[in-house]
Symmetry: C2
Subunit: 204 residues, 2 copies
């Protein structure tokens, strides 16, 4: 756990103490699951007292929400920027998959918490995160639909195809480790090709 | 939690009390995670005393192992039978994906525990389960490689392609619920087509 990693993960979060707690939260949740982790565990793993934790996060759920919302916002921004990077649906989809897969590989510990601890969020917080998820799905689905219209993609159901494309990226967080043979960027490139083929795009 | 569901899930496990404990374990682990669940929680959810649980499973880890091994054995058998159901790599792959996806949708609660609580298994038990996983990956990878040899699939790296095919199925367990619009069988059919296209197979 280093200061630079937390700043790299959450450049927009201030102060550094809050980022340090988020990183300790990610590591504890990823290792033992949200429900088995106490705020005391997280505080002590960040080298703080529980009281110091509550200065930044009123509850364990608030800390999970901060981690989850930030992760989803990053993923949404990344998908949005990739989608807008070119007018070609094929190239836009390639960019989305390459970046989305690489992010889930590079940030696999954060991504695991973000993807698999959703059910632990309180209702109101869950709805905010679910809205970000729907935003991601909508961009990919609309892009599939546009590609079908323009005759460059084939998909009987753009919703199912979009979900399958996103599954390829999300599931990377489950199995990727720092010992994995392929770099996040290389894996992204390979998955980009696989996803385009899945959508029936002519391969360049 | 009904007697018939546990018999359907684990037809080979006897007596019924053991199956009832496995079902209670699945439900508790899926809801709160392995580490936050106590053997007392599981026993009481199955309407038993902790002592009665220990008659069948010496520990919480032994119960998780029984659930995980059985789930992986079912998945391996299903993939093996599908692979051997025809000589055509294209049709064999279609069968594998259809059945694997449908299983992860229909058994989504069991599958979530099986797929996401691997890290909680003790080392020796983990190795046994990892061996079953490698068996599944090997069948799919060998089939991709055979299809490439016979000129019916395109894949630059059969290992990566096999992993992507399996990801499509595994990730279904994460999002599928009883309220999902598509039946497990229909979802399997659609994903079968997507996977074949991903492998560059000519669509029939």
């Amino acid at each position: 756990m280093t200061m630079s990693l937390s700043a790299e993960l959450w450049p927009d979060v201030q102060p550094e103490t809050a980022r340090r707690l988020m990183l300790a939260g990610v590591e504890s949740f990823a290792q033992r699951g949200y429900h088995a982790t106490t705020t005391r565990d997280i505080a002590s793993s960040a080298g703080m007292s529980p009281a110091a934790l509550y200065v930044h996060f009123p509850s364990k759920a608030a800390l999970l929400f901060a981690i989850s919302r930030s992760g989803h916002e990053q993923a949404l921004n990344l998908v949005q920027e990739a989608a807008e990077s070119t007018d070609s649906p094929v190239e836009a989809m390639r960019e989305i998959v390459e970046r989305f897969v690489a992010w889930h590989a590079r940030r696999h510990t954060v991504a695991r918490v973000v993807q698999y601890e959703l059910g632990a969020l309180p209702e109101r917080e869950y709805e905010i995160v679910a809205d970000l998820r729907r935003g991601i799905e909508r961009i990919v689905r609309d892009l599939v639909a546009r590609g079908v219209e323009e005759g460059v993609f084939t998909a009987t159901d753009p919703g199912t195809a979009a979900r399958a494309v996103l599954s390829l990226g999300i599931d990377v967080a489950r199995w990727y480790t720092d010992r994995s043979r392929k770099t996040p960027a290389l894996l992204g490139k390979e998955y980009g090709q696989l996803a385009l083929r899945m959508l029936g795009a002519a391969q360049s």
